[in-house]
C-alpha cells in the first residue's frame, strides 16, 4: 500500500488496540464486552495486514493460535468455578477480593472492581476472539504467497 496508508496505520493501530482493551475492561459497566472488544482489537490486525502486507504479521500466527486456545480454556475453567451451585454460576460476585465489590441497586456510576466472574470471562472471551479472528486473517493473508500490489 502507499505511504499514506502506512503512516495512518502506524498512528491508528495503538489507538484501536487501546479502545479494544477499554471495551473489554469496562464490559460489565458500559456497552460492549468480550466479543465486541476482541473484534475491535482484531480490526487493528486487519489494518496492519492490509497496510503492511502478510510478511509483517507472519510471526503473529502461532501466538494468536495459543491465545485462542488459552482464552477458551480460561472461559471453561471460570465456568467450572461456580460448580458448587450450578455450571456458570457467578461464584465471585459480592464476595470481596478480586472483582467482588457489591453493587448498589438502581442507577449508579459503576464500580470497576465488581462483577465477579463476568469481567474475567470478558477478558477470556476477548483474547479468544482476538486470537481466533487474528489467526484467520493472518492465514488468509499468507494464502498463496505474498503479491503486494
Amino acid at each position: 500500500m502507499s505511504v499514506v496508508v502506512k503512516t495512518i496505520a502506524r498512528i491508528l493501530v495503538p489507538v484501536i488496540l487501546v479502545f479494544g482493551g477499554y471495551v473489554i475492561l469496562h464490559g460489565h459497566l458500559t456497552p460492549g464486552g468480550g466479543f465486541q472488544g476482541g473484534a475491535v482489537a482484531a480490526s487493528a490486525v486487519a489494518l496492519l495486514l492490509v497496510a503492511f502486507g502478510a510478511p509483517a504479521v507472519k510471526r503473529l500466527k502461532a501466538p494468536f493460535s495459543v491465545l485462542e486456545d488459552l482464552g477458551g480454556i480460561a472461559f471453561v475453567v471460570l465456568a467450572f468455578l461456580g460448580l458448587g451451585f450450578t455450571f456458570f454460576a457467578n461464584s465471585l460476585a459480592g464476595m470481596g477480593g478480586l472483582f467482588g465489590a457489591p453493587v448498589p441497586t438502581g442507577p449508579n456510576a459503576g464500580i470497576l472492581n465488581s462483577g465477579g466472574t463476568v469481567p474475567l470471562m470478558n477478558w477470556a472471551v476477548g483474547f479468544k476472539v482476538l486470537g481466533g479472528l487474528g489467526a484467520v486473517m493472518v492465514l488468509f493473508g499468507l494464502f498463496g504467497g505474498d503479491d503486494d500490489r
Binding site: 456497552p31 460492549g32 466479543f35 465486541q36 473484534a39 495486514l49 492490509v50 486473517m137 494464502f143
Partner: protein, 83 residues
C-alpha cells in the same frame, strides 16, 4: 413524525442504496467499499434503536473485518468482475 424517525428512514434508504450499489458495481473494490459503508450505516441504525452492544459488534465485524478480508481476497485475485 419526529426528527429521529426521519433520520432512521433516511439511514434505512441509504443502507438499501449501498447494498444495491454493492451488487451493481463492476469494480469489486468499489463494491466492497459500498458494502462496508452500508454495514457502518447499519451499525448507526442499531445505535439509534438503543442497542449499542450490537452496534459495536456490527461496526467491528461487519465494517472492519469483512471489508479487510474482501480487500485481501481482491488483492489475491483480480479487481474487475468478468461479464
Amino acid at each position: 413524525m419526529t426528527l429521529l424517525a426521519v433520520l432512521q428512514v433516511v439511514i434505512l434508504i441509504l443502507i438499501v442504496a449501498g447494498s444495491v450499489l454493492a451488487v451493481w458495481l463492476k469494480d469489486l473494490l468499489a463494491s466492497v467499499i459500498a458494502l462496508g459503508a452500508s454495514s457502518l450505516l447499519l451499525a448507526l441504525q442499531f445505535y439509534l434503536l438503543q442497542a449499542p452492544d450490537v452496534a459495536i459488534a456490527e461496526a467491528g465485524v461487519g465494517a472492519a473485518l469483512t471489508t479487510a478480508i474482501f480487500v485481501l481476497a481482491i488483492r489475491k485475485t483480480q479487481r474487475k468482475e468478468e461479464e
